[in-house]
Amino acid sequence: MALRKLIVDGKEIEAEETITLLQACEQAGAEIPRFCFHERLSVAGNCRMCLVEWVGAPKPQASCALQVKDIFPNKDGTPAKINTASPYALKARQGVMEFLLINHPLDCPICDQGGECDLQDQAMGYGRAAFHRFNENKRAVEDKYMGPLVATIMTRCIACTRCVRFATEVAGVPDLGATGRGEDVEITSYLEKAFASELSGNVVDLCPVGALTSKPYAFNARPWELKKTESVDVMDAQGVNIRVDTRGPQVMRVLPRLNEDVNEEWISDKARHACDGLMRQRLDRPYVRVNGKLKPATWNEAFAVIAAKVRETTPAKMAAIVGDLAAAEEIKALKDLMGALRVTNLDCRQDGAKIAGGPRQTYLFNSTIAGVEAADAILLVGTNPRWDAPVLNARIRKTWLAGGVKVANLGPAVELTYPALQLGTDIAMLEQIADGSHDFAKVLGDAKRPMIVLGSGALTRSDGAAILKLAAKIASDTGMIGPAGSHADGGWNGFNILHTAASRVAALDLGFLPGVSSDGSGGRDVAGIVDGAQKGEIDFIYLLGADEFDVAHLGRAFVVYQGSHGDAGAHHADVILPGAAYTEKDGLYVNFEGRVQRGRRATFPPGEAKEDWAILRALSEALGVKLPYDDRAALLKALETDVTHFATLNDAPVHADTSAATWGGIGEAGPLDTAPVTAAITDYYLTNPIARASETMAKCSQELVHGATKMAAE
């Protein structure tokens, strides 16, 4: 990479030619104010706040729009001199600030951005002293409608166009634009329709002023009165990094946290706005069903009812199902408890995915999220990444923008925000790709780093195992299983499973799957448990936050529901044990890459609710099979002994296994079903109990999914 010497504020630096002068100045330690410039968006150069002095140049230079390679040295060969803090540069910026403030309302006291506003902060540094020389009327702009999540107060807009560039470039939903010209520029969505992106909330973070603010959070809190807790999101399986802002017992909002490997700095609307669901429909005390009605009970009463029931039944008639939002701790505790009771009817695959555990690489997103940027051909099977993992979809779009990755989609035709070859919904197409007779097989074969992504829409089918087998064959045949190592070191593994449940990988890691009982018969999976319950062969079912399967048809089985929300599972439960939601407990989550991340407690569980592993530990004592850990540290130790990678936080596993045996052993050969491939998620905004309890998500669902089904299916 070519370097160029510059003298920034008297300090000589060498900067890469490809970066902008603004970034070079920052590398030299200077602070450059800016409004329109953003590292992840294209350069607009229209706010002029980043002006610096290039000694000898006739005018101040907008450093964001000037590349280092355009800065030629002085005539005598000495490096160009850039001053970022000279009176000249300062005066230029003060002039810009004065212009910006001419039309900006003085409504900071009632503005939600107050306290975390770029304009407010920079006005402290570059505003002229306490006088003004503009006595005319300020411009006023009509507010625009941008959907249920983004509130607009457009008079505050300084027309930096960050939101327009985000919508067009990152979200890939070009709904926003700047109409008019000059003083009359207005940011608007086309005909004031809702901004139909799953990433729309990010424009609120991007807006440097208070023009776009969060609608659900409007007038709720000030940034300085919030406690900030760094955590991990569980709304999908990507494990995006979040910051949970709380005031007292309430989660006020969720913001993204920077993590280049996982989510850059974006989060989905569900991760951001489902948090109001944490205050609704909560289970805050134990309940026991008496004469068909749920009655409040104490913990000991509830435990006694469960213990009595367990004594009546036999391990073969008991079952346990792990839900989608569980952390590794409670999965481990539940597995140990069920193991102590010799129960083998265990499952974590509520959706019925045909993943059988086995070597870790057979059920992970092996390419890693950052690795997507290295891919040059992607085959999506039964997944709509826009809904399954919106932030991952933005990464695929970024890859397509940078180099035109070829994408093919086998499944319902959806607008993915990048061009994709729609292969239709006939799964037989996968056979054609596997035997090389389809055109896209050649594309995959020619690609240096091809990827296949299997989603729940494919794996939950009755022929899911056969699809896995075919996918593994495609992976081996087209060179997806490349050299060992991470993609940065030249390794490659293009075999990917895209999970949608945050708990799934941790549960698979811990082997929360049907086991083998002492008499040699295999345990039941979710379908088997439901079937058994209806036939009376299963009469005790423990649900750890499991709401996403056919809960209504559990026959006369005795159901214990442990979870945070009164959703489907709790409605059919005989005993309810109130647990903690993801913001109320310390927990380890494993995302679909196999990356172990720690979620932290931001608030305490409501009422008598407890952390989930502690409930299981207490129950184990009541059942007479006391679990061998008394605190979370001991549990973590047991977890790490059981599965060693839980000791390594924040790193994605490095692809090491290239043996044919691993990839040959995936799935089972079998006939393919003729049913069309369908989407796994039917309503993006309502996929889990927290989201279903959220008023904001209900509004989004109504407007963006049901109000305009065309938009999603187009």
């Binding site: 140049a57 005018k59 070009p174 109409t179 009359d184 608007t188 969505s189 086309y190």
Partner: protein
């Protein structure tokens, strides 16, 4: 300038399509641009659409966006940016009156008054018979014949109130009017009363062609002189803060 918005929905037409001839022209125009750069034709197409319909409507914007594979909002941005696109219906004759300083000094107020009297009291409003609408525009670049106005693609110059009124009435009556200066006698932009310079007939008979060879010698500017540093930019103005509350 003022806010430019699409016309209200109740006056928007149900659909838009280019005429056969214009559609063919549009395809040829789009083909001028390299593959992947078809969106460059957006201004040409909007302009052609406006020539066909008189104004740019909501269906026209969407139709052109589909032709060019552009998001609707991008075409809306272009249509609202350029003031040459009329976003509301216009009369058969769109009278664009220049009111920029030179025309104003020469009496464009009278021209505007004539339009108000004979077309409609408000600009950008179609007259009762549907034949006319008028609007004020910025300089059309014919200051030497000020005041002037434009109808269709023709300039009508050297106007005054009565001339404008007569022109409008002639058009209304279906009579043709002659483009150019309207003050009888002037042909183009020569001085009133005839040309005062370049009157030598030899200029026009070809006899002086090639005679102007000799360059007037220029004093040589040395390189050192030209490149000598001038006052540093940062020295030019020192920022002086005024005390709080000082008069501006």
């Amino acid at each position: 300038m003022s806010l430019r918005r699409l016309a209200p929905p109740e006056i928007q037409p149900a659909s838009f399509a280019f005429s056969a001839e214009n559609a063919e022209w549009a395809q040829a125009t789009i083909a001028k641009y390299p593959q992947g750069r078809q969106a460059s034709a957006v201004i040409s197409l909007l302009w052609r659409g406006q020539e066909q319909e008189g104004w740019v409507s909501h269906p026209m914007i969407e139709s052109i966006a589909r032709m060019l594979n552009m998001p609707f909002i991008r075409v809306l941005e272009v249509a609202t940016f350029y003031t040459m696109f009329n976003l509301e219906p216009v009369g058969t004759y769109l009278v664009q009156v220049c009111t920029t300083t030179p025309c104003w000094l020469r009496g464009s107020d009278d021209v505007v008054a004539a339009c108000k009297k004979h077309i409609h009291p408000h600009e950008k409003t179609v007259s009762e018979d549907g034949k006319f609408s008028w609007m004020e525009v910025e300089c059309l670049g014919a200051c030497v014949n000020a005041p002037m106005l434009q109808i269709g693609s023709d300039f009508y110059e050297d106007l005054d109130g009565p001339t404008t009124e007569r022109m409008i009435e002639d058009l209304r009556a279906g009579k043709e009017i002659k483009p150019g200066p309207q003050n009888y006698g002037r042909v183009s932009s020569e001085p009133e009363g005839g040309a005062l310079s370049l009157t030598d007939p030899s200029l026009y008979d070809g006899s002086v062609i090639g005679q102007y060879h000799e360059q007037v010698p220029q004093p040589a500017n040395t390189d050192a002189e030209a490149k000598a540093p001038t006052q540093a930019a940062s020295d030019r103005e020192a920022p002086i803060q005024k005390p709080p509350g000082a008069a501006t």
